[in-house]
Symmetry: C2
Subunit: 320 residues, 2 copies
């Protein structure tokens, strides 16, 4: 009998549902700790004191950057996305492979600049680009693949949040489309520090927007969360004299491609964590809410505790 679900086209299903269905068809191996559904796949290596972190992301002209984007920035973004995934699991990035699709008339200089941008970012974190493939196509596309490692059993997953944990985010959110989506800093050092110190109980990077990404932690961890909207750190990119505060916060919740770290810390360690963070990093790190027992439920409140459930369509007060 034919599965009637299968007759849908991708635009009806959406990316997440399609990935869920594809993942359901796959079988695994005993050495795979985490497959599809986290920032990285996590695998064990026989005889080594590490787990491996494997991840891949595309960066496609017209989808992830405009044709006139500086090519160094395009390369930076391609490497940055996979480095950010490894950071989000608390790992050390090691090796990167980069598949490039380019047009026949693509100037060699443009490709070299793409590689230089990717290489420069990798080198800053000690990672090396060691392979890839070049093929012809209709537009510039990069598919980056990265391998990282983390001490065995120490990968920080989306599934580790528990009721009572404090929810933190690094940096400031919103408005990355104004340029930061091409120049962001993957939080590799911060991610490793959070994993090595055992601070983070769950972690991911903010790629689809804070509200959407918090939901993934809730789903994977089987918990809920309340976010204090007045505490969400808003980027200067979405603050301007003409905009009201609610609009700025909405951007911070929904814009995406911030590539900041979103993570949870046990509440009885949060004071020590905040002191240790302040000693280690100049980057802001902000407590924006806490994990609750209401499975899958995201609530947002203002400073006075007023608010409500933040549904799939967002919170009504924060519409224009």
């Amino acid at each position: 009998m034919k599965d009637h679900h299968s007759s849908s086209v991708l635009s009806e299903l959406g990316e997440r549902e399609a990935v869920r269905r594809l993942a359901a068809r796959l079988t695994s191996r005993a050495d795979v700790r985490v497959g599809i559904g986290d920032d990285c796949a996590v695998t064990e290596a026989d005889g080594a004191p590490f787990d491996w972190l494997l991840t891949t992301d595309p960066v496609i002209e017209g989808v992830h950057f405009l044709p006139d984007a500086p090519p160094e920035a395009v390369g930076h973004k391609a490497a940055g996305r996979v480095l950010s995934d490894i950071a989000a699991c608390g790992g050390e990035p090691l090796w990167v492979l980069l598949n490039v699709v380019a047009t026949d008339y693509c100037p060699m200089e443009r490709l070299e600049a793409v590689y230089d941008g990717a290489e420069r970012l990798c080198a800053r974190f000690g990672a090396a680009i060691i392979g890839g493939d070049l093929s012809r196509g209709e537009r510039l596309e990069l598919h980056a693949f990265a391998v990282g490692r983390v001490s065995r059993g120490h990968a920080v997953l989306r599934s580790g949040a528990r009721p009572g944990d404090i929810l933190y985010v690094t940096g400031r959110l919103g408005g990355s489309i104004r340029g930061r989506h091409l120049t962001f800093e993957p939080r590799v050092r911060e991610g490793r520090w959070l994993a090595e110190g055992g601070w983070a109980t769950a972690m991911m990077d903010v790629s689809d927007g804070l509200a959407a990404d918090v939901r993934r932690i809730l789903e994977r961890s089987g918990v809920g969360a309340t976010i204090r909207l007045d505490r969400v750190p808003v980027s200067d990119d979405v603050r301007s004299p003409g905009k009201n505060e609610a609009s700025s916060v909405r951007h911070a919740l929904c814009d995406g491609e911030d590539f900041e770290l979103l993570f949870t810390v046990r509440s009885n360690r949060s004071a020590a964590f905040e002191r240790a963070w302040a000693d280690a990093f100049a980057l802001p790190c902000t407590a924006i809410g806490e994990i609750t027992t209401e499975v899958g439920c995201l609530r947002v409140t203002d400073a006075d505790g007023h608010g409500g459930v933040y549904g799939d369509q967002g919170y009504e007060h924060f519409r224009d």
Copy 2:
């Protein structure tokens, strides 16, 4: 001062020269044994008795398959290309990540069939698909990444051929466009056996055509080769009553996408090798020539020893 080489476009340079220039811009890490330029990158991991093999290949609609190709076969090819790279280094494939680019109107059934084709092939060799990404585009594209392993120091590289070595190829070559390029069997078991038994001194898979691929072994090993054209195993796909023998051999030399193994064995072990192979496998394995001291020079001869240098444009006698 600006490098005047950089002003070329990709179609003028060709893929190999472009990759050479890009690779020259990259820096490496101490744990990278082999970077760009072999079938896989080879890396070491502290404390593990293995080296790691990393590879990636694209499979793109209109380049690597036609729009009406069966989707299972497209998935098979995407997985098969990376499994074949790992086989060509003598490794065991472990984990595969698969990036998919698809159109908005791509039926979910088509994507599921692509995944099923990839999954089925991986499963047959004990490998698992454990990650990937789905994004929207103008045509179907797959970018597969694979990780394999090989006992430390035992990866078989393109650089290990020495004068006097006998040159072998598995299976039969030519005419894969008639269907085999979508249904080929990656020679994973054979590749591992060749590496574990210490038989193969240099190895790669035949993807661009025997003549072009032999040259890569010659370049990386700093040697030459003579191929006996009457011994090149020709696929039934290029034999037909209407075709002459020279034309069939030309197809076997030039067609590409055979995904057979091309490798060298020390001449003093070749008799023992041939007996051991015949005991282990039903697949044909044919001695087609030998490695010489003439650096970079590929000669072709007939059964009587007549022939000449096979240049970039092929051997004159074998033109139509």
